[in-house]
């Protein structure tokens, strides 16, 4: 693999400060390379190996001049606002259900072109030991900056469509999304990934969220229709006083995805809830790594992840709860349950608790097992075939997490995608 950074640099030349950041970070990436299993955080997802095995000649993505998307791909019978990203590039937005004066939406590409704008987000380009972050800093070419004013609650959910087309084939796409919610604001966000055809690409994307005092962000990550893609999605959240961040992750589609969610509970009474399901078959390899940092008193976090593995699939949950010595009265919880339905599938679960405060309530649990034969017998004794019984149990097992979704329309959408998938997966 040979990423041509010089060519990229020539076509993306701007002011010195940004050029230097890009150069410095690319050098860092070149030194470190793609992460391997030798790094603790990548122990279960050897990215270097996966890329070498699946891409012969991965290239840096180049913008297309003509960017139109297929509007038939938009979700129907579901009132929503939308932002469209095509191959990571911001294409359009539509906030017809909202008071647009309360919203700012900008293309990251345009923001990067202006030094004044760049100053505002410069802090987000800090050094990191994670070479995927260095790579993203070096090669980021677009994305969005999206800000919601104080005291504004969205009337309808927002769907960020992440579409990919043939221009992505065999490319690595690096983008960033910035979302900030003002005080007392409220947004339900569906981060929806879709690639119509089978194009093989790598998407390296970093989301940065800021959730101010009393604000509520509910995010639903859906990657049901991304068949042959490879993804690293990193989300970093800063949560301020009394705010709520919820993230439901429906991990079904891609060949490879490593979802990494870092929640920083920075002020009193902020909370985060990370729930998700993985349903994997074939050669799929999915990982969810969470990092919940309790940095202040009285914060709450909860994680519930359920996984089902078929065929030769490989799933991982690495869930970490860190409690700072300042963070007394922390309430942290995590539970991972996995069903392994084939001898060739694999699931790794690594719960980590790192606690420096003495007055905290933290618990974790992790189970990996097969379907209970007594349950199968019970259902079969009622006339169901083994296959029907298996499917009913698996569906029920995963459904418990879907039941936690409190937005009825989004729950319906997610249930539909889940049912389609389970019918296809040959459980």
């Amino acid at each position: 693999m040979n990423l041509n950074f010089d060519e990229f640099q020539k076509t993306n030349l701007s002011y010195k400060e940004l050029d230097n950041i890009r150069t410095k970070n690319f050098k860092k990436f070149e030194t470190l390379g793609f992460p391997t299993k030798k790094q603790e955080n990548w122990k279960y997802t050897d990215l270097k190996n996966i890329i070498n095995n699946n891409f012969e000649n991965l290239q840096i993505f180049k913008d297309k001049n003509n960017s139109s998307y297929n509007n038939k791909l938009l979700i129907k019978n579901f009132e929503h606002n939308r932002i469209i990203l095509l191959n990571g590039n911001f294409i359009e937005s539509n906030f017809s259900f909202e008071d647009e004066k309360k919203i700012i939406i900008k293309s990251l590409k345009i923001a990067l072109e202006e030094k004044k704008e760049f100053e505002k987000i410069k802090n987000y380009f800090e050094d990191d030991q994670n070479s995927m972050i260095s790579l993203n800093h070096a090669l980021v070419n677009d994305g969005i900056i999206f800000e919601i004013d104080n005291n504004y609650s969205f009337n309808k959910p927002l769907i960020i469509y992440n579409f990919f087309d043939e221009a992505a084939d065999n490319k690595i796409i690096n983008n960033k999304v910035f979302i900030s919610l003002g005080e007392n604001s409220n947004l339900s966000l569906v981060d929806f990934y879709k690639c119509e055809n089978i194009f093989k690409y790598f998407n390296n994307t970093i989301h940065n969220y800021t959730i101010k005092k009393n604000a509520v962000l509910k995010k639903f990550s859906i990657n049901a229709s991304l068949d042959s893609s490879y993804n690293y999605n990193l989300t970093k959240v800063k949560s301020y006083s009394n705010s709520i961040f919820e993230n439901f992750l429906l991990s079904l589609g891609p060949s490879l995805i490593k979802n990494e969610v870092h929640c920083n509970l920075l002020e009193n009474y902020s909370s985060c809830f990370l729930n998700g399901i993985m349903l994997l078959n074939g050669d799929q390899h999915h990982e969810l790594k969470t990092n919940v940092n309790h940095k202040y008193e009285n914060c709450k976090s909860s994680q519930l992840i359920k996984s089902v593995l078929l065929d030769k699939s490989n799933g991982t949950y690495q869930g970490k709860i860190y409690v700072d010595k300042k963070a007394q009265k922390t309430n942290g919880y995590q539970l991972s349950k996995a069903l392994i339905l084939s001898e060739s599938s694999e699931f790794n679960s690594k719960p980590e608790l790192e606690i420096y405060a003495d007055d905290v309530k933290c618990s974790h649990g992790s189970t990996i097992g097969n379907i209970d034969e007594n349950s199968i017998f019970y259902l079969m004794s009622r006339g169901l075939t083994r296959q029907q019984a298996n499917k009913m149990i698996v569906e029920g097992f995963l459904n418990e997490v879907i039941e936690t979704i409190t937005e009825p329309n989004i729950k319906k959408l997610i249930s539909q995608l889940f049912i389609e998938r389970i019918n296809k997966a040959n459980v």
């Binding site: 034969e373 259902l379 004794s381 009622r382 006339g383 169901l384 009913m392 029920g396 459904n399």
Partner: protein
């Protein structure tokens, strides 16, 4: 209907049923009573197809070799087992389970599958008779059900599926007197000249409500005594040892 002869069953080398014989004709109610560990549940398990037993001997159901019929086909062909310990299945909605089961069996019997409306009407009517609160049917299957609710749910399934041979494995254990009455009424309402019952119990109490045609005493994997419903009363009075010694 059911013809078992010389049936022996062992699990992990331990022989539980020994040269067991039993014949049940259509319309008959048979009760099997016996002390703990006598093989009562093993019999129920084997008849409904649970794996894990080494079986010798013969069992015919409607003239066919029952031991060769797969579990789900036994159910489809009309064998129903009310479990002693109904299984909790998290995440599976009780109503959806009941509907799937009923429609699978209706399909097998060449009946039209019920749509959601017809199904709900039916299940409401049946659960009302059993005094089952409708809201428990929208809960997860047996999860968080009380002992009585679980047993009533078994009987509800039986009344929905209308089996030809119903096996009740200690359905009375864990039931209070009111629930016992309701469950018995449910069983009695299903009695007819074609439907047979095999009722496995420790106590005579249930047999006060459901009057059996035959009572068998099972000890150490073998029927040691057979009589009519009076035998159950003797057992209650004299205990298993008393009855088996007098034979």
């Amino acid at each position: 209907m059911l013809d078992i002869s010389n049936l022996s069953a062992s699990i992990e080398g331990k022989k539980i049923l020994k040269n067991f014989d039993l014949k049940i004709k259509p319309g008959e109610i048979h009760a099997i009573m016996g002390p703990n560990g006598s093989g009562k549940s093993t019999l129920a398990n084997i008849l409904s197809g649970r794996k894990g037993y080494e079986i010798e001997g013969k069992a015919f159901y409607e003239g066919k070799n029952l031991l060769e019929i797969p579990i789900e086909e036994r159910a489809q062909k009309g064998i129903f087992l009310a479990f002693q310990y109904p299984i909790e299945i998290p995440g599976v909605n009780t109503n959806i389970f009941l509907k799937t089961s009923l429609n699978t069996i209706r399909k097998f019997r060449g009946l039209k599958e019920l749509d959601s409306l017809d199904f709900l009407k039916l299940v409401r009517e049946k659960s009302k008779n059993l005094k089952i609160q409708e809201k428990i049917l929208s809960r997860q299957l047996n999860v968080g059900f009380s002992g009585g609710e679980k047993k009533k749910n078994e009987i509800l399934q039986m009344t929905l599926l209308e089996p030809k041979l119903a096996i009740l494995d200690e359905t009375d254990s864990g039931l209070d007197i009111d629930a016992l009455k309701i469950v018995s009424d449910g069983v009695n309402s299903l009695r007819n000249k074609n439907r047979s019952f095999l009722i496995i119990t420790h106590y005579q109490r249930l047999l006060d409500y459901i009057k059996p045609d035959f009572v068998h005493v099972l000890v150490n994997g073998k029927i040691v005594k057979t009589g009519n419903s009076d035998l159950a009363r003797e057992l209650e009075k004299d205990g298993y040892e008393g009855v088996t010694e007098t034979k």
